[in-house]
């Protein structure tokens, strides 16, 4: 039965030993540990928050970057398109111009040729006339009896020569 009865002596020793030890532990021992742990916890939480902020900022920067890139791409495409259009235009106008130029040159050449031809014809005609005159002279020199026949012959000769 005395197992169940508290002993005053033991209680007193408990009060002394455990009391002092508990006092030290409560005052300095455990608060030091829990304070450190709490501080570390706060530090970790703050670090995580910072990391998250940095992450979101990075995300923003990345977004900006990709926006910039998209814009640049669009601009490049525009420029390329413009260039192609311009080239087309230049080409077209050049073609147009060269065509016109050619036509003009051809026309000029034609006119020149026409003029020259006419000139040649004229000179030929003159030559022929001279020739025919000479031929006629010769014929006349030979005999001028049948003038009708002569005339026909002359014309025929001229035609032959001209042709």
């Amino acid at each position: 039965m005395d197992l169940l009865l508290p002993e005053v002596g033991t209680l007193i020793w408990m009060l002394i030993a455990v009391g002092i030890v508990f006092f030290i532990l409560i005052k300095w021992g455990f608060p030091m540990i829990t304070k450190s742990v709490d501080q570390r916890k706060e530090y970790i939480d703050a670090s995580i928050e910072k990391a998250e902020q940095a992450n979101s900022r990075l995300e923003g920067i990345r977004q900006e970057c990709s926006d910039l890139l998209d814009q640049a791409k669009k601009e490049r495409a525009d420029i390329l398109q413009d260039a192609a259009r311009l080239r087309q235009e230049i080409l077209q106008s050049a073609q147009q111009e060269s065509k016109e130029q050619g036509e003009k040159i051809i026309a000029q050449a034609k006119a020149q040729i026409e003029i020259e031809r006419e000139e040649a014809i004229r000179s030929i005609r003159a030559e022929i006339a001279t020739l025919s005159v000479a031929v006629a002279q010769k014929l006349v020199e030979k005999e001028l009896d049948d003038s009708k026949e002569q005339k026909d012959l002359t014309n025929k000769l001229i035609d032959q020569i001209v042709k």
Binding site: G9, T10, M14, V18, F22, L25, T34, S36
Partner: protein, 358 residues
């Protein structure tokens, strides 16, 4: 499985000759029979000396100081318990046969106990446990003082383990139990937890600086329960006392006859009482079971080698099992004591009731 069988076989082979030796020894002096009750109770109860070990010739013990006070015997007297060995008398004091405590014979010839504050086995043991706990906590604290910037590394090794247990107790037991004001009570509850678990675990180690039945002693558990009682009732707020003295129940239950206040008042006492008895009974029972199993070996010694050998094996198997169980119980009891203490403290600081009436 195969290994286990070999271990069992080895145990058997080793223990049979041991049992035979025991048997022959007990045959030679039949009068030295094993008194199981005495063995168990001498361990469970407090004593004035700390028995270390025995050889065939003599017992080796640490004799602790006896400090007693009695007006009749002329005030204080302090002496070594060696002087009271084997029923010897010193300064008029001797150790009673019936109670095992230091007594003196008064004028009428009756045994009377003086005021006894001897530094007994339990007192010494609790001092050792407390100092060991102090050393551990302060060593860990030193680590934190050295690494006090929050960006320093997390402790590893023992400090890391200790920190893990501290945060586990703090977050799993104290925080949910006490509630928002837990920071204030945390150091006390942690101290209680670690003192109990230290004492429980050291009680399982059977050799000298450990092995005493500290938490299985009702004075110790009573002290711890009293601490919680004080923490609950001294720091309880107005709402707590209002709930005890004028609880929120129909008036006839509290007005002419204070029924509910009476019940609530008993609640104040039964809570720490339950704490005290639970820890005491659990730890004491564990010690009793393990000691009884040990005694089985010696009780069966006179019954012949075969029975003794087989019983030894059985007893050792059970002892291993029980020790495992006691490891668990050591933790559970510390856990339960701390948890209930935090819950009681949490209940002593209720928030003001928001009027629920519609």
């Amino acid at each position: 499985m195969k290994t286990l069988r070999y271990i069992l076989l080895l145990l058997l082979v080793l223990l049979v000759p041991f049992g035979q030796a025991m048997a022959s020894a007990s045959e030679t002096d039949e009068k030295e029979k094993v008194d199981v009750k005495d063995v168990i109770f001498s361990h469970i109860k407090d004593s004035y000396s700390w028995h270390l070990f025995s050889t065939n010739k003599r017992h080796y013990s640490i004799y602790l100081p006896v400090i007693v006070y009695s007006k009749e015997m002329g005030g204080w007297s302090a002496f070594s318990s060696r002087r009271l060995e084997h029923g010897a008398e010193y300064n008029g004091y001797h150790i009673s046969e019936t109670s095992g405590k230091v007594v003196y014979i008064n004028g009428e010839g009756a045994e009377v106990r003086p005021f006894d504050m001897s530094y007994t086995k339990v007192a010494m043991s609790l001092t050792i446990n407390a100092l060991l706990l102090l050393a551990i906590v302060l060593c860990c604290g030193r680590w934190y003082r050295k690494h006090d910037s929050p960006s320093s590394k997390v402790p590893g090794g023992f400090v890391g383990f200790f920190e893990y247990v501290v945060t586990m107790v703090g977050d799993d037991i104290i925080k949910p139990g006490v509630g928002p004001e837990y920071k204030r009570y945390e150091p006390y509850l942690l101290s209680v937890f670690f003192f109990i678990i230290m004492s429980n675990l050291l009680g399982l180690i059977p050799i000298f600086p450990a092995g005493a039945n500290v938490t299985g002693n009702i004075s110790i558990t009573m002290f711890l329960a009293l601490c919680t009682f004080i923490a609950v009732n001294v720091f309880g707020n107005k709402e707590y006392w209002k709930e005890i003295l004028w609880p929120d129940v129909p008036v006839f239950l509290k007005c002419p006859l204070p029924l509910m206040p009476l019940i609530e008042f008993f609640g104040i006492l039964t809570k720490p009482f339950a704490l005290m008895v639970r820890l005491f009974a659990n730890m004491m029972a564990g010690h009793v079971i393990i000691l009884s199993l040990t005694c089985v070996i010696f009780v069966t010694a006179p019954m012949g080698a075969a029975i003794n050998g087989s019983m030894t094996v059985v007893s050792i198997l059970f002892m291993v099992f029980m020790n495992m169980m006691e490891l668990l119980v050591a933790y559970i009891q510390a856990y339960v004591f701390t948890m209930l203490s935090s819950v009681f403290i949490g209940m002593s600081r209720p928030k003001e009731h928001i009027e629920k009436k519609e």
